[in-house]
C-alpha cells in the first residue's frame, strides 16, 4: 500500500515537473467558508437551466446546515446531457455522497452495488419523514428487503394526450374537452388533413419517438423488452411485437401513414411535436404528460387516464453512494432535504429577491425581467429532479397555480398502478443480459418504424417477433414472468 502510494507520488512529481516547464500556477481548490471540522456532504444533481449562482445558494444552505444539523454541503450541478456519464464516474469513488439515481433504472444501480443500504437510518427516521410516502412507494425502492433509495416528489404516472394547434382546432369547430378517445382524435385528424393539406397532420412526440408508451408496461425497462399490456393490468409477460395493444395501435398509425396524415421522414425527425405545432408545421401530436399546463399556443385532449407503470416511482430516486466516506452525514443531509422547508426553498427556488420574489398575494414569481431561462439559479422548472419540492414557498409562476404541488400529489393518488408496481427486475442477476442486448438491437429495427407507420404491420410484425425469438425473447419473458409471479404471490399474502 505504501509502496503503491510512494510510486504514485513519484509519478505525480515527475508529471508535475514535466509540465511545470510551462510555468503554471497550481490550481486552487475552493476553500470552505466554514473552517470548523463539520463533515462536508457532496450532493450531485442534474440541471438544464443556468445555475451560476449555485455557490451563493450553497453558502446560504450551509448557514442553516451548520446551525441546525452540524454538517456542510457542496452542491454539484451537472448538465443533464453529461449527467449519465459524469454521475457514473462520480460513483467510482467517494467524490459524491448524496446523488440523484436517474436515468438508469434503480435495479441497475443496485446490481452494480453503487448504493449504501438505508434500513438502519430509516428505522430511526421521524414519523413525519416516513409519512411523506406510502408503504408501497417505500417498498418500491427496496430489493431483497433492503432499502436502497428514497423516492422524490414528482409525477408517478402519466396521462396520454393529443396536443392540438389551438387556433386550428377551434377553426375546425372542435372543443378539446369533448375529445376523449383515440377514435375521436382520429376523426379530428382526418378533418384537419382535409382542411390543412399542406402541413403534417400528426407528428412524433419527439424525434423518432411517435408516442412514449401509451399502455404497455416494460416492467422497469424503457426498451420494452418483455411487456405487460393493458396499462400493466395483464398478468402475462409478452414480446412487445405480440402485445395486443401495440399491434392494434400500429395498425391504426399505419392507416394514418397510408392516408398521408403522418410525417414521411419521421424516423429522422429532429424536432419535438410541440415545437412543430407552435411553428405552424404540424397540427397535432400525441404525448405523455403529467399535470403541467400545455405550452403556449397548444391545447390538449386526454385520451388515456393517468396510470403508472411498474417502476414510475423508482424512475428517479435519491440514494447514498456505497463508497461514501461519511454515510451518516450524507443521511443527515438527505433527511433534511425532505424535512426542512427552508433548505428545500433554497435548493429549488434559490434566494429570495435574487432568484424569485414573493408577491403580496402569497404567490411567487421571477424577479422583474427574468424568466426560467435567464435567471441565474434556475432549478425551479427542474423541481422533479430534486428531493422534495413542496416547501413553504409556492411554485414559481411558470409551474402554474399555487396549488401545483397539492394537485401533483392528488394526480399521483389518482393513478392506476400497474399490477407490478414496485417490482425489481435485475437483468444481470437473472442471467439474461446477453439475450437482452440482442433483443434491444432487434427492437430498435422495428419499434419506431412501426409506431410511425413507416413499416407495414401485416408483414413486419411476424418477422419482428421471429427475430426477437431468435434473439432470446422467450427466455427473457420467462425470467420476468417468474419474478412477476413470485412478486404477485408475495403481494397477495
Amino acid at each position: 500500500m505504501t509502496g503503491k502510494k510512494l510510486a504514485g507520488g513519484i509519478l505525480a512529481a515527475a508529471m508535475t515537473a514535466m509540465t511545470a516547464a510551462s510555468a503554471f500556477a497550481a490550481p486552487e481548490f475552493p476553500t470552505d467558508v466554514d473552517v470548523s471540522d463539520m463533515p462536508v456532504v457532496e450532493f450531485a444533481a442534474p440541471h438544464f437551466n443556468d445555475v451560476t449562482d449555485a455557490p451563493m445558494v450553497e453558502a446560504a444552505m450551509n448557514e442553516i446546515l451548520a446551525e441546525r444539523y452540524g454538517i456542510q454541503v457542496k452542491l454539484n450541478f451537472i448538465g443533464i446531457g453529461s449527467w449519465q456519464q459524469q454521475s457514473n464516474l462520480l460513483l467510482t469513488g467517494d467524490e459524491v455522497d448524496v446523488i440523484t439515481l436517474w436515468p438508469l433504472p434503480l435495479s441497475t444501480f443496485i446490481s452494480n452495488m453503487q448504493l449504501y443500504p438505508l434500513d438502519e437510518y430509516l428505522a430511526d427516521a421521524p414519523e413525519e419523514f416516513i409519512n411523506k410516502f406510502t408503504e408501497e412507494q417505500w417498498a418500491a425502492c427496496q430489493a431483497d428487503g433492503v432499502q436502497y433509495s428514497v423516492p422524490n416528489l414528482r409525477n408517478y404516472g402519466n396521462i396520454f394526450i393529443c396536443y392540438w394547434d389551438e387556433e386550428k382546432l377551434h377553426e375546425l369547430g372542435y372543443n378539446e374537452d369533448e375529445i376523449t378517445t383515440l377514435d375521436q382524435i382520429e376523426e379530428v385528424l382526418y378533418a384537419a388533413h382535409e382542411k390543412y393539406p399542406d402541413i403534417y397532420t400528426i407528428v412524433p412526440q419527439s424525434q423518432a419517438t411517435f408516442c412514449n408508451g401509451i399502455s404497455w408496461d416494460g416492467l422497469g425497462d424503457q426498451n420494452y423488452i418483455g411487456v405487460l399490456g393493458n396499462f400493466g393490468q395483464d398478468t402475462t409477460v409478452t414480446d412487445i411485437f405480440e402485445c395486443e395493444d401495440f399491434v392494434n395501435f400500429v395498425k391504426r398509425t399505419r392507416q394514418w401513414y397510408l392516408d398521408g396524415l403522418m410525417m414521411g421522414d419521421a424516423l429522422s425527425n429532429q424536432e419535438t411535436g410541440a415545437t412543430m405545432i407552435q411553428n405552424g408545421a404540424a397540427f397535432a401530436s400525441l404525448s405523455n404528460r403529467a399535470c403541467e399546463p400545455a405550452p403556449a399556443g397548444l391545447t390538449q385532449s386526454k385520451f388515456v387516464d393517468c396510470w403508472s407503470d411498474a417502476t414510475n416511482i423508482t424512475a428517479l430516486t435519491y440514494g447514498i453512494n456505497s463508497l461514501s466516506s461519511d454515510p451518516d452525514a450524507a443521511w443527515v443531509l438527505l433527511q433534511a432535504l425532505y424535512m426542512d422547508s427552508d433548505l428545500q426553498t433554497l435548493l429549488i427556488d434559490g434566494i429570495e429577491g435574487v432568484h424569485y420574489i414573493l408577491n403580496e398575494d402569497g404567490s411567487a414569481s421571477y424577479p422583474e425581467g427574468l424568466d426560467s431561462t435567464t435567471v441565474t439559479y434556475g432549478m425551479a422548472p427542474a423541481y422533479w429532479s430534486l428531493p422534495y419540492a413542496n416547501s413553504d414557498v409556492p411554485p414559481i409562476d411558470e409551474l402554474g397555480s399555487a396549488s401545483f404541488f397539492s394537485d401533483l400529489i392528488a394526480f399521483n393518488e389518482s393513478a392506476l398502478p400497474s399490477i407490478a408496481t414496485g417490482i425489481t427486475i435485475d437483468i444481470n442477476a437473472l442471467g439474461i443480459a446477453d439475450e437482452y442486448a440482442a433483443c434491444i438491437n432487434v427492437k430498435t429495427k422495428y419499434y419506431d418504424a412501426l409506431m410511425n407507420g413507416v413499416m407495414d404491420p401485416e408483414t413486419t410484425l411476424a418477422q419482428a417477433h421471429q427475430e426477437m425469438v431468435d434473439a432470446g425473447i422467450e427466455k427473457i419473458c420467462a425470467a420476468k414472468q417468474a419474478v412477476l409471479d413470485e412478486f404477485l404471490a408475495a403481494k397477495g399474502e
Binding site: 446531457g81 412526440q205 419535438t272
Partner: protein
C-alpha cells in the same frame, strides 16, 4: 527551375477544377450551417435548412450573446490549453521520436513496440479516471484539460519517427558527431531546423486535438468555470439532445419548446470553427517546399 518541375497547363487547369469542386463540397455545408444559424426558427422548423431562407433572423446569435461572458472565458481557457498543450506535447513527442529513429538506440524495436502497443489496448475509462482523480487529483483543475490522453500520442510519435528516418540522413548526424556535438545539440541545432514542415504539421494536428477536445472536460470537470469552448458548446447541444431523446415519464414535466432551437445549435457550431479558420493560414508558411531541402544538401 520551378517551371521545369511542374505540370503542363492543361494539367494545372484540370487540377484546379478538381480543387474547386472539392472546395465547394467542403464549404457549401459550412455555408448551410451559417445560413441556418441566421434563419428564423419557424422557417427552419417548417422548411428545413436552406441556403436561401425565407426569413432571416439574428435570434440565435442574440441568444448566444447573452452567454457572452461564459463564452469568452471558455475561449480563453481553450486558447491557454491549446497553446500550452501543443508546445508541451510537441516537445515530448520530438524528444521521444528522435531517438527512436536512430539506429544506434538500444532496444529500438522494443521501444517502438512499447509506443505502438498503446494505440491498440487501453484499460478503459473507469481505471483511467480512478488513477487520474484518485492518485493525481486532476479533477476540476486545468490539468484535466491538458494531461489525459492528449499530451503525447503514439500516432504522432510514429509519424515523426518515420519523418526522421526518411528525411534526416545518417551522414549529417555522423558529421556533427565528429565535430563533437552532443546528442541534444544535434537534435535542437541540426535536426529540428530541418524538420519544421513536420513540426508545423504536428503542431496543427495536436493543436486541433486540444481545440476540439471535449471528452476530457466531460470526464474530469464538473466545475463549469473551467469549461473550454468545446465543453460549453457541447453542453448546450447535449442537454437539448438528451431532453429530446428521453421523453420519459420523468422528463415529461419539461417544457421542451423552451429549449434552444436548431438554429442556436448551428450558431454554436459556427462559433467553434471560425477561430481555427482564422489561425490556420498562419501555419502555412511552414508548409513551403525548400526549407528541408537546402539543409539536407548542406
Amino acid at each position: 527551375m520551378e517551371s521545369m518541375v511542374s505540370t503542363k497547363k492543361g494539367g494545372q487547369i484540370a487540377m484546379h477544377i478538381i480543387g474547386i469542386l472539392l472546395c465547394i463540397a467542403c464549404v457549401a455545408p459550412f455555408i448551410l450551417l451559417i445560413t441556418s444559424s441566421l434563419t428564423e426558427e419557424a422557417t427552419l422548423v417548417k422548411n428545413g435548412y436552406s441556403f436561401f431562407p425565407q426569413v432571416w433572423s439574428l435570434e440565435s446569435y442574440a441568444y448566444i450573446s447573452r452567454k457572452a461572458a461564459v463564452i469568452f472565458r471558455a475561449y480563453g481557457i481553450t486558447v491557454l490549453v491549446t497553446v500550452v498543450g501543443t508546445v508541451s506535447s510537441l516537445f515530448m513527442t520530438l524528444l521521444f521520436a528522435y531517438p527512436l529513429s536512430r539506429k544506434e538506440l538500444p532496444f529500438r524495436n522494443v521501444l517502438a513496440f512499447f509506443v505502438f502497443f498503446t494505440m491498440l489496448f487501453n484499460g478503459g475509462l473507469i481505471p483511467t479516471y480512478l488513477m487520474y482523480t484518485g492518485t493525481f487529483h486532476i479533477k476540476n483543475t486545468i490539468w484535466a484539460l491538458l494531461i489525459p490522453s492528449l499530451l503525447m500520442n503514439a500516432f504522432y510519435v510514429i509519424m515523426m519517427r518515420s519523418f526522421f528516418t526518411a528525411n534526416i540522413p545518417d551522414s549529417l548526424i555522423e558529421a556533427a558527431r565528429i565535430d563533437g556535438a552532443g546528442e541534444y545539440r544535434i537534435l535542437f541545432k541540426i535536426v529540428l531546423p530541418l524538420s519544421l514542415p513536420m513540426i508545423a504539421t504536428l503542431a496543427l494536428m495536436v493543436g486541433l486535438g486540444y481545440w476540439n477536445d471535449w471528452l476530457n472536460g466531460l470526464y474530469y470537470l464538473t466545475d463549469e468555470n473551467l469549461f473550454s469552448i468545446q465543453n460549453v458548446l457541447n453542453k448546450m447541444v447535449s442537454d437539448v439532445q438528451f431532453l429530446k431523446t428521453n421523453q420519459t415519464t420523468v422528463t415529461s414535466a419539461v417544457d421542451v419548446s423552451k429549449l434552444p432551437s436548431v438554429g442556436i445549435r448551428m450558431a454554436i457550431a459556427v462559433i467553434g470553427v471560425i477561430p481555427i479558420l482564422v489561425v490556420y493560414p498562419f501555419f502555412q508558411k511552414y508548409f513551403v517546399k525548400g526549407i528541408v531541402v537546402g539543409g539536407v544538401k548542406g
